[in-house]
């Protein structure tokens, strides 16, 4: 019987252990964290030293401010080292605030932050994050106006137009971030393909003509068609051009948010999809112009690749410009990340040109990065103190490879990017010039139920990109109805 009792005890213990193992969290690669920080999936937190602190005075005696990194840049090993160096220097330089880093996997960051918000354990500061990332948490962001007023904060070295731009990003006019990094958009072109075709490079100065004609949408179309070549070497303007066997394309806007029509139309003009009454859906006129131009460019003029062509090996399975088979790309400053073809292909020469005019006007869609404070913070003053130091940090700009909103710091950034392309002279005046033509309202600015609007715009963009002869006007009427439904539901 004794033996049986032992066996019984052993079995019971095994059962208890099985339950304990089954119900315990997975082994974590993260350090021991405060209750707040540990609420997210532990494996998604990046292990750093010093370990994150959730509350209480920090090692320097200051108020703990939790800085959540992962929504945008900041999770690469080199960036993490830069962030840690900044935090260490900042925490060592004063005793009022202790900046505690929480770095999470970029692919999981949004869900982790949502979980923390839902469980009441959200951090104090988030970022760096783009405008779109901010919009996904729009009504959770603290309006900084009162803190700016009470502290007398001013953005030094930032063009007032850009200050206005940052001030226009929040929901219902809230100021949700201080100027930090900006990414104007313009034309990237493959000089080798231009040289091969014997074509002049596009203009680098606003107002310059191209081959004696205004640098406008029509000029871009003509140029792009000449640079679209079939397997027999004929371009898209020539008789006998074989549209079924294109090997080089003239134009595209790579990485434009999955054919998001709001993004793709942004260089055709700037406007709001929400009327001044805050309830009615409107479709700005330039959206129709844009959709028809894109649709004809893909299906009639063939200078823009189809979705299948974009995904093909000829266009680098999506890395179109780097494939060397795309002549012109409309993109933002950050696109310098992605212009070098993968080995063993040799890098090609490329240059910058200004945006063409549409209806006589230039619009350069602007992307921006900043840091925001969440409404749920219990330490807004300390968080704002840290925020000011973060946006003023040249080291953080360098860490993120971000183009500074502060004009006095821009040249250093231009030099650092140019250093990646030895032998090339990149005309950074183009980028500086395009900053004077931002799209306000921005193509990523807040609208009610931003995520649903974005999906609707992607569906519309996908339709005109993938459907030959699409009835654009009918699709726009449907889009307006869809947007109205979204806005009504959001009321």
């Amino acid at each position: 019987m004794v033996l049986r009792n032992w066996r019984a005890l052993g079995t019971l213990m095994a059962a208890v252990m099985l339950i304990a193992v089954a119900c315990s969290p997975a082994p974590s690669t993260a350090p021991t964290q405060g209750a707040a920080a540990s609420s997210g999936p532990a494996a998604s937190f990046v292990q750093i030293t010093p370990e994150p602190i959730a509350a209480g005075p920090g090692p320097n005696g200051g108020t703990v401010v939790r800085w959540f990194i992962g929504l945008g840049a900041g999770t690469q090993p080199a960036q993490i080292a830069g962030e840690q160096a900044f935090a260490a220097a900042y925490n060592g330089s004063q005793k009022d605030v202790y900046l505690s880093l929480e770095i999470v996997d970029n692919t999981q960051a949004s869900n982790i932050l949502k979980t923390e918000l839902a469980s009441g354990t959200a951090p104090d500061i988030i970022g760096p994050v783009g405008v779109e990332g901010l919009n996904l948490f729009a009504d959770q962001l603290l309006d900084l106006k009162s803190l700016i007023a009470s502290t007398g904060y001013t953005s030094t070295g930032v063009d007032p137009a850009l200050v206005d731009f940052f001030n226009s990003l929040g929901q219902d006019g809230a100021t949700v971030g201080l100027p930090f990094a900006v990414y104007p958009s313009y034309i990237f072109y493959n000089q080798d393909l231009f040289d091969e075709a014997g074509l002049a490079y596009p203009p680098t100065k606003v107002g310059d003509m191209y081959e004696g004609k205004p640098w406008d949408l029509e000029a871009l179309r003509g140029l792009a068609m000449k640079l679209t070549v079939d397997k027999n070497g004929k371009d898209a303007t020539e008789a006998g051009f074989d549209a079924e066997n294109i090997v080089q394309w003239g134009f595209d806007a790579q990485y434009m948010d999955n054919y998001n029509a709001r993004a793709e139309s942004a260089w055709f003009g700037a406007g709001s999809f929400l009327d001044a009454d805050g309830k009615t859906a409107v479709i700005p006129d330039y959206v129709a112009t844009s959709a028809k131009w894109w649709n004809a460019g893909v299906w009639t003029d063939h200078f823009i690749p189809t979705a299948n062509q974009v995904a093909s090996d000829l266009l680098g399975a999506g890395s179109e410009f780097a494939s060397g088979n795309l002549a012109i790309d409309e993109a933002h400053t950050w696109f310098t990340c992605c212009v070098t073809p993968p080995a063993p292909k040799k890098p090609f020469k490329f240059g910058f040109a200004v945006q063409p005019t549409v209806n006589g006007k230039i619009t350069s869609p602007l992307h921006a990065d900043t840091f925001s404070i969440l409404k749920t913070t219990k330490v807004p003053d300390a968080a704002f103190t840290a925020l000011q130091a973060m946006v003023a940090s040249g080291d953080l700009l360098t860490t993120y490879g971000a183009m500074p909103a502060d004009t006095t710091k821009q040249q250093a950034w231009f030099d650092s990017i140019s250093a990646n392309f030895p032998g090339l002279t990149l005309d950074w005046d183009v980028a500086k010039a395009m900053l004077a033509y931002p799209d306000i309202p921005n193509h990523q600015s807040w609208v009610p139920d931003y995520a649903k609007v974005r999906s609707a715009m992607q569906a519309f963009g996908n339709a005109y990109r993938t459907t030959s002869g699409l009835d654009i006007d009918a699709e726009l009427a449907k889009l307006k109805e869809t947007l109205q439904g979204i806005f009504d539901a959001a009321q």
Partner: protein
Amino acid sequence: MAKTSVAIPRPAGAARDGRIHWSPTRREAFWGLIFVGPWIAGFLLFTVGPLIASLVLSLTNFNLVRPDDIQFVGLANYAQLAGDPLVIQGLVVTVKFALIAIPITMAASLGTALLVNSPRLFGRNVFRTLFYMPIQIPLVASTLVWIGFLNTETGWLNKLLAVVGIAGPDWINTAAWVYPALTLIGLWGIGNFMLINLAGLQSVPTELYEAARIDGAGPWKIFRRITIPLMSPILLYNLVISLITTFQYFTQAYVMTNGRGDPNNATLFINLDLYREAFVNNHMGYASAIGWLLFAIVLVLTLVLFLFARKRVYYAGGEA
């Protein structure tokens, strides 16, 4: 060795000497419960708990990024379902795909099983392995491979069709061809159903076939009158599982369109719509209602299938 006694809670009816004198049945039940205990705990925590939570959430307007604004909205989410064009689209897409994919998958898996069960097939085990192998490949990876295979520019399928003079369609970007494309992808992974069908085929008594042949029955008649009836429980099982997995269809559609449901919402399966509402649009309360709608539909369809099975499915040992 010193004696050690272990105090185990004495159930009612236990002897006064402290020893447990259970009947074998009760003892078996006790130990059975002990051993299934971990599973029951997991089931309660990770299945029943979320089920109840989602039911409660479906009656609220819970938004992941506005947790403080949560309000009880009664059946408003369920009322909204009826008028939501995306939910309706999701259901239409799912049913349309089910009507195309399930019969083809069922027929193909049965056909393959018959093939690899045939004594005339040389290297049967090799073919069985080959047909089963795609199951081992993660869905995301296989879908990415298929996207390349179906590409109109560089994909092999259209190149093969071109060899025989057929201009291949745009499989992925046209609403008319995306279902056949997804069905093709699905056919690649019929190994599981093939294996189940194979087991079913091998369980059919061979003397029935011999008797039928002696009576002059041809292969088709034997298949229709013997194989299919005796396989009917297996086929019903495959049908129910196919139905459930089709209503849970997600990964291939998500990978193929980055979760957008392109072209023109033609791949917005109801499960993809649920995901988008929950984790893209943050409408967790509404997404929970979609989840329960999905559950109700699958439950009803499964019950209908079982009702149908009463008349059409043959159980050799009586109804299961």
